[in-house]
Symmetry: C2
Subunit: 215 residues, 2 copies
């Protein structure tokens, strides 16, 4: 199986975003140096990442932007459609269910669920909101592998269990809970508050010593 280091893996979204932006303005090549400056990482590291991805550059020119972008998309499986349910139709769930950019990454929202009777039946981003009671049956019927979890913390664990039992293999977790899942199921935690904590620490220490932790 093709594989790169964890650390390199985390850089791929950032590479991808930069490449897309450059491609949009018509640039064809980018050097490791330029990428390294934008990302504020070492130039050699960029070249090593490219080597890990089995991408080869051109002397004097750098790397083909479109080839590199496509390679990252291939590596991450972004060219195949991934269907997902948004579980939780609050503001965050609505933001995720209606975000137009996801389609560029092969992410297709195919349903929105909520427990609030007032919300059920209303529309969010082209989807009629459905009761969470139907979570398992929808997962099974549509053979869903991914759910996007934006529910209140007190129901996060039980809904996770329902979803996993119904066959979900990946959970994009926007709740502040550490979910328990069996081996074979992958959870990605977006503990959004973590981002604030890093900034809070920075702000508290500004004026103090010189430079700070990267991210």
């Amino acid at each position: 199986m093709e594989s790169i280091s964890k650390a390199a893996f985390r850089r791929l979204p950032r590479y991808h975003q930069i490449l897309s932006a450059y491609e949009a303005v018509g640039r064809e090549y980018i050097s490791s140096r330029e990428l390294s400056e934008i990302l504020e990482i070492n130039e050699t590291l960029v070249r090593k990442d490219m080597a890990d991805l089995k991408i080869r550059g051109k002397q004097n020119q750098g790397y083909s932007i479109s080839a590199l972008r496509l390679r990252i998309e291939e590596f991450l499986g972004l060219q195949e459609i991934t269907e997902a349910l948004v579980v939780g139709g609050g503001h965050l769930g609505t933001a995720l269910a209606t975000y137009p950019g996801f389609e560029h990454y092969g992410l297709k929202i195919v349903g929105v669920l909520d427990s609030d009777p007032e919300k059920i039946g209303t529309r969010i981003g082209g989807h009629q909101v459905v009761s969470v009671a139907r979570l398992a049956s929808i997962i099974q019927k549509k053979n869903i592998k991914l759910i996007i979890l934006t529910v209140p913390r007190d129901v996060a664990k039980e809904l996770t269990e329902v979803a996993v039992n119904a066959g979900v293999l990946a959970i994009w977790n926007f709740t502040p809970c550490e979910l328990n899942v069996p081996a074979g199921v992958k959870v990605r935690n977006e503990q959004i508050i973590g981002g604030f904590m890093a900034l809070s620490h920075y702000l508290k220490n500004v004026g103090g010593a010189a430079e700070e932790n990267g991210d």
Copy 2:
């Protein structure tokens, strides 16, 4: 200045979340082993993190949950209020502006800005939406150090510049842009799509080889 490793720093939000949950149900002590199992990291690593935080445990009992939580909050400056503006009143901005949990971390949203004339003057989470044209003056008047950026990508860079010139020192960036800021200003990128990319890669490779990348 007190300092811990980057990697340890990234674990703090997760520790904090677990501690809060345990505290809420009345538990007083937690062992390094228990923490390590929840986080799926090595037990020694937990003890090393505690040592870095200058927290001492009790033999046979573990670490005081409340003391540890407080120490993390102190370390991160979460006990002092941080005032922030939400710039961009779309679904995501609204989600962030109305999220009730932030107050536990000292994060206080003091205003919401948008460019849409239809939105200006309406209310989002107790705040009357204000024109982004007033960004600089509000930052200066209220002495704001942090902005939460949830605007469309094409205005992200210019608004960043305005905010930085007006005195902002930290940017919580929810746009998919790599922002350029002078030294002394800290950007935290929440490239949400990155989370999906990790899951997409996992789903594409399930059934293939055994275990996968951690997060």
